[in-house]
């Protein structure tokens, strides 16, 4: 049963990823990206990561994708005739060859390693969210705070970048709008 779900989520996420890269209309690309994100969140559920599933749906599909579609509609882009790079075959051929080699290496790898300290029964006793929270707010508190400061900086940077009352095609002065 899990294998069937895994095959569905994996195939659809790869297919939608290819569509995201290959479709012509940017809005269609955004909707294909939505399919990728939702099916990747399905893979998270299969891996017992329910909290990450919720975060993926809320933050990625709910916030980031809406931001993308919002900017797409704001800019009102025209679909171009040549939407690929002019010499894309020179990029695509080596990339596909390299991907085949990497896949070959990955599939024959044994993936041994030291087991960690949270096996599935211990996680399932209190739930995945509990386990993530205990780990994050004990051992990884500093990283959590750093991410918080990073997000604050990103918000301020985005506002400062996007705010410019004067058009920038003038004489080059006053680009900061101050």
């Amino acid at each position: 049963m899990i294998a069937i779900f895994f095959a569905y989520f994996a195939l659809v996420s790869i297919l939608a990823g290819v569509l995201t890269v290959a479709l012509k209309n940017p809005v269609h690309c955004g909707l294909a990206l939505l399919a990728v994100l939702l099916h990747v969140s399905g893979l998270f559920v299969l891996l017992n990561a329910e909290f990450l599933w919720a975060v993926q749906v809320i933050v990625y599909a709910g916030a980031i994708l809406v931001l993308y579609l919002f900017v797409l509609m704001l800019l009102n882009l025209k679909t171009e005739e040549r939407y690929f790079h002019s010499s894309y075959l020179y990029f695509a051929g080596p990339a596909v060859l390299g991907a085949c080699y990497v896949l070959f290496l990955l599939i024959q790898s044994p993936y041994g390693g030291l087991k960690g300290d949270s096996p599935a029964p211990a996680v399932l006793r209190n739930g995945d969210t509990y386990a993530v929270g205990i780990k994050m707010f004990s051992d990884y508190l500093l990283q959590f705070e750093i991410v918080g400061v990073f997000l604050l900086g990103a918000i301020i940077g985005a506002i400062v970048l996007a705010k410019s009352p004067k058009p920038i095609n003038g004489d080059g002065g006053g680009r900061n709008g101050r």
Partner: protein
């Protein structure tokens, strides 16, 4: 039971798809979307190893990656808006303002 290598293979294929998108698309917004695909492929990898090696650290790092992807999307789209105001285009070939 799905083997770990299946998850790693899916992740690798998605990552290569995103990498191709970054390399061959000309629209800057689609390039950012392809970057999101690459970040998602990394997340699949981290969560799969976190499950199979019975450690919580992979899920934590995936969580941090999602937060950083949110910041990257916000700043990237702000840059797109600024460039679009000046050039009325989001084509990556025409963004050569900093070239000398």
């Amino acid at each position: 039971m799905v083997p770990l290598s299946a998850y790693v293979a899916v992740s690798a294929v998605l990552f290569i798809t995103g990498l191709l998108g970054v390399l061959i698309r000309r629209n800057f917004i689609i390039v950012l979307m392809a970057v999101e695909i690459m970040l998602n492929a990394a997340n699949i990898n981290l969560v799969a190893f976190s499950h199979y090696l019975e450690s919580m650290v992979g899920q934590l790092v995936a969580l941090f990656i999602i937060a950083i992807a949110a910041g990257e999307a916000a700043v990237g789209l702000a840059i797109i808006i600024v460039v679009f105001r000046g050039k009325i285009s989001t084509n990556v070939d025409e963004m050569n303002l900093l070239k000398w």
